[in-house]
Symmetry: C2
Subunit: 646 residues, 2 copies
């Protein structure tokens, strides 16, 4: 079995179909207890430090004061119009945490923030802080730029999470009133505005609200927002004119920026602002599922294929340019200037997770895992109190994690993703349990008319051995699906000690074992995890002549802390042996990669800039660390793509 | 003889001295008739097309109308405050041309432009178009940004050239009145402004005016401008405050931008705006010469050493960033984003030429030649009617010559340099004739009390054989100095067929032959001109792993027109044989370099972005053209630094 090409992305040349038989739903994070050495300590840090750190940043940056007494002068950072979405994402993250780890102090802060936000709700249900406290006269006058419905979306997601975590309806009822009001303002009916938000988010939030409340109107409003987007005459044109602005003077120059250049079903390429693109794609997947809409699924497949075959960084990051915080051209994936916003990689996880529910396709899980372990996780420091906004694949030594940003979308976003990490591990359907991710954990799953407890033991991502153990009251017929990751070339499987021939069993990246399961059944999966050399498509200019190192799901990088020389001078021979070794004392415990390399020396150059004799090299023992862990020690350079000596 | 390291730049660790014995003056371009196959046709194109093309651009861009009726609206390009310097540089170029090639039509246009400019002169002598016609109230209120004295400088240079070419005193007398007025405004005396221009230029112009008129005050004003620059309290601070501006809000952020951060004798590094830096350095060299000032010479040597050892492109271009049109950090020499303004390379020629007059040091001539044949000449298209402003060493296909620029400093600047090219070929002193450049030409030189006619025959830069033939009335004792270029590793010399052993004769890049010369004496110099592979200092990030090709003084590049594949995929083996062949049908006749190379293929990649198998290569016959000639055919990519396969 050689699955050496990845990300796995088959060209959608076969006619798309609505994949009923392989649909599943995620096992909620409340049904999963993560117990491993990799994630569990991170999640504890998240609960004990990150969530409080973010709250403290609200305080330090006067988030609460601002809306009571907006400032205009230049003595303090000017808030963004969407600052309140930071509250919402934090509320969502805190709620996920409270659902599994009650904490009265955190719950008190959550209630305070909810009360604070609630105090701004207007009699008509409208609930936006900026356009109530700061610029009330500008309500709904610039959907294109001002994130008004985006903020509504995040508040709705927070409310749903809060309700599900605590059973409290305080925020949920407020957002339902707000959503009802939004429904009364937007739509195709006479007298309504035919608008939609410049930053997609409310679309997927309304689907969550629909699930939480059963109110189908919310689904329809979401569908309206997705389907109205990009239709002609263009709402953002008309809206600009109504403000007295020239639509052609749009600062982002093109409606590709917010994916409103054409209607949804005509979109075949991932363009524009990367976070917008991912949230939009997630909403499209949601709607495809809810509406059984084959054409929306087809749109997702085309977008997915385009992203994977042309515009995705090895780390699962996306968005090549800081100009538009987004996409540029096919194969334009520069390393040092990569934007690769943490939020965009998070958005890719959200999208991949939704597609995985539509079809049990390992390619979706591969990308989800790649983004999660690399381009997302890099966004959070080991101490849980500093963040990356951009996640470049090369740094000349000036890019460092920050405790906060004036545009602080990423910190609470990574918090809400990680606080709900449990939901990404398992999927369930009527007949199947699916293990998407290998993370040591205990899951409680209702299947075959009983409650099955599944224990997963593994030292993943450092080791590819996974041991699954079942507890169930009485034997039952169902299927367990195990993902065989795209990065894995050799795997072996045994059940109760009996080896299973895998080759014929793998279907779209999963092996499905249907049998009469009984208590004490054990599955042993061994995913070989050698160090892999990764090469990039030659059309990616910046990677030509270079190699990246990967082991299991982890992309590696060089850092000055381990390689005290200019990193671009390091050359790795194509044949150099590489060695992996777990080191408990480095970066909280990581598997390091080491190997012999060459380094061009400047010693024999004197004061000459150019000469006719080639540079000479000396030997160097290269040390690589997992990409996610960089910039947690002394500042220095970083590099994922290493020059290779053929 | 191996002189393989270049640019030759010895660290100025020896105490500097004022080099009287090796001083020389340039033989004026009027005493030199260029007759070669390389430059002569270019100079004809310059005279017959470029000078008229530039005049036509003045007309098309309403240069003349503007000052009669300044516009403020956005319907036409807003002129720069220094547009009038384009007139001056064109006048200077046209005057050089008229001096050797009379042309009544051109002379008529010159006289018209001189009359036009002259009509703006004020009773007090002030002669600036912008601050007379457009903003008269702002005279001398922003020396830092508004190029007022810079424009004066170019007008003075034009006047001197015009006077020397035509004997007409019209413009010369006007600029003398203007210079007298400037002398009355600026200086350390009570009541005078202690200012100087944000863009150096008047400093070297005033020295030319001093030479043309013998008026020593002009030298002293120049000395004042150079020596006052950067002194404290800082004039630009005081001037900003007087305007009601905050000096700290200076848009360029640092006075390094205009080299006024410290006084001249404390400047040891080439910083800031590249053209400003070169014009300033040229003025420093002029003053060192005029004042016999060892400290100014020392400053030049330190700046020269810094530029050559840290900040010069292989093409003789300089200025790494478009942010400041200038210098960034040591070894920061990116190729695709190189600014390398044509004017900066011209400024380097001006500076090197001045230093070469102070000391017969081949390193100065090497750099002069390198810049002239590469980073300067690239600035002009083969048809003489399109220009580069930036001269990057790599283009992804979007950088092309333009017929004109809104900031059109480069077109008339390259015109004035090339129209006076003759003056760069020969130097003379009481006892010596020095041949700096090898260009087929006839020079008429007064030496040893007679007029010597020197014929130089060569097919340089395509061939390194130089044949020098002397005509003189009677035998005479003097020396002829022949430059042995830094790029040359093997040279042979014979006089009247008798071989001269060169090894012991070369002193600082020149071989000096002192003897009783007589009519018919012939010198044969043969400079071996193989293809050289050039490597960059490993601290230049963008050149690591790459090689450049050079033959004689010419740097080569790859262009899509000859290599119809993405150029970054081409790999040249370190051992690949390379071949040179003159091709009369390509680019007006050039020596092409060819050789076997490898190209990574994308054919076996399918729709995958990353994979574990290395890219495969196929063979490709690489074709390289001289750098100066790129972008004269169909648009495409260009690349000087070629990836090398070790």
């Amino acid at each position: 079995m050689d699955l050496s090409s990845f990300p796995r992305s088959e060209h959608p040349s076969v006619a798309p179909r609505f994949y009923r038989e392989s649909r599943s739903v995620p096992l909620p994070h409340t049904a999963v207890n993560i117990e491993d050495a990799f994630w569990a300590p991170r999640l504890r840090t998240l609960r004990e430090r990150t969530l409080f750190h973010i709250y403290e940043q609200f305080r330090l940056n006067e988030y609460f004061e601002f809306y009571r007494r907006p400032w205009k002068d230049g003595t303090r950072p000017i808030p963004y119009v969407f600052w309140e979405s930071d509250f919402s994402k934090w509320l969502e993250a805190a709620s996920y945490s409270l659902a599994t780890h009650p904490n009265p102090e955190l719950e008190r802060l959550v209630d305070e923030v909810i009360d604070y936000i609630g105090s701004f709700q207007q009699p008509d249900g409208y609930l936006n802080l900026w356009f109530t406290a700061v610029e009330p006269q500008k309500r709904w006058t610039n959907l294109r730029d001002w994130h008004e419905l985006y903020c509504a979306g995040h508040l709705i997601e927070a409310a749903v999470a809060h309700f599900q975590a605590t059973g409290k309806r305080t925020l949920l009822e407020r957002v339902c009133r707000y959503a009802d009001y939004i429904d009364s303002v937007f739509g195709r009916e006479e007298g309504k505005k035919r608008g939609y938000c410049g930053h997609q988010e409310i679309e997927l939030a309304l689907i969550k609200l629909y699930h939480a409340t059963g109110e189908k109107r919310y689904l329809h409003v979401s569908q309206y927002f997705v389907e109205e987007r990009g239709s002609q005459p263009h709402y953002f044109d008309a809206e600009a004119r109504a403000r007295g602005d020239d639509p052609a003077a749009f600062w982002a120059k093109t409606y590709e920026y917010n994916q409103s250049h054409v209607p949804v079903r005509e979109q075949h390429e991932v363009v524009g602002h990367a976070v917008r693109a991912m949230y939009f794609a997630s909403a499209i997947a949601d709607l495809a599922r809810e509406l059984h809409d084959d054409t929306l699924l087809r749109t997702c497949e085309l977008l997915w294929h385009h992203l994977l075959s042309k515009r995705l960084y090895l780390t699962g990051g996306l968005g090549s340019s800081d100009d538009n915080e987004g996409m540029t051209a096919d194969y334009d994936l520069p390393n040092d200037t990569a934007y690769a916003e943490t939020c965009a990689a998070i958005g890719l996880v959200l999208w991949a997770h939704r597609l995985l529910q539509l079809e049990r396709e390992g390619g979706y899980a591969d990308v989800l895992e790649r983004a999660l372990y690399n381009g997302v996780l890099s966004g959070l420091s080991l101490d849980g109190e500093a963040f990356f906004y951009e996640n470049p694949l090369e740094s000349r030594g000036t890019h460092h994690r920050q405790p906060w940003f004036r545009c602080a979308c990423c910190p609470p976003n990574i918090a809400r993703l990680l606080a709900s990490l449990g939901q990404y591990i398992y999927g369930v359907s009527e007949t199947d349990i699916i293990i998407h991710l290998y993370i040591q954990s205990t899951a409680t799953i209702a299947i075959a008319n009983q409650r099955v407890t599944l224990h997963q033991f593994t030292n993943y991502p450092w080791d590819g051995k996974i041991h699954v153990n079942l507890e169930l009251a009485e034997p039952a017929l169902f299927a367990i699906n195990l993902r065989i990751p795209g990065w894995c070339r050799t795997a072996s499987l045994s059940i109760n000690g009996e080896k299973i021939a895998l080759e014929q069993q793998i279907n779209k990246g999963y092996v499905r074992i249907e049998r009469q399961w009984q208590a004490g059944d054990t599955i042993l999966l061994d995913l070989a995890m050698p160090i892999e050399r990764i090469y990039a498509h030659p059309s990616i200019r910046d990677d030509v002549g270079s190699v990246a190192l990967q082991r299991g799901p982890l992309v590696y990088c060089l850092e000055t802390a381990d390689n005290a020389i200019p990193l671009n001078l390091i050359q790795l021979s194509a044949s150099a042996p590489l060695h992996s070794q777990f080191d408990a004392t480095t970066l909280g415990g990581v598997t390091l990669l080491t190997g012999p390399a060459h380094v061009q020396t400047t010693a024999d150059w004197g004061e000459t800039l150019y000469r006719t004799t080639p540079p000479t090299s000396q030997e160097h023992t290269l040390v690589a660390i997992p990409y996610y862990a960089w910039d947690n020690r002394q500042p220095g350079e970083m590099r994922v793509w290493i020059r290779e000596r053929p």
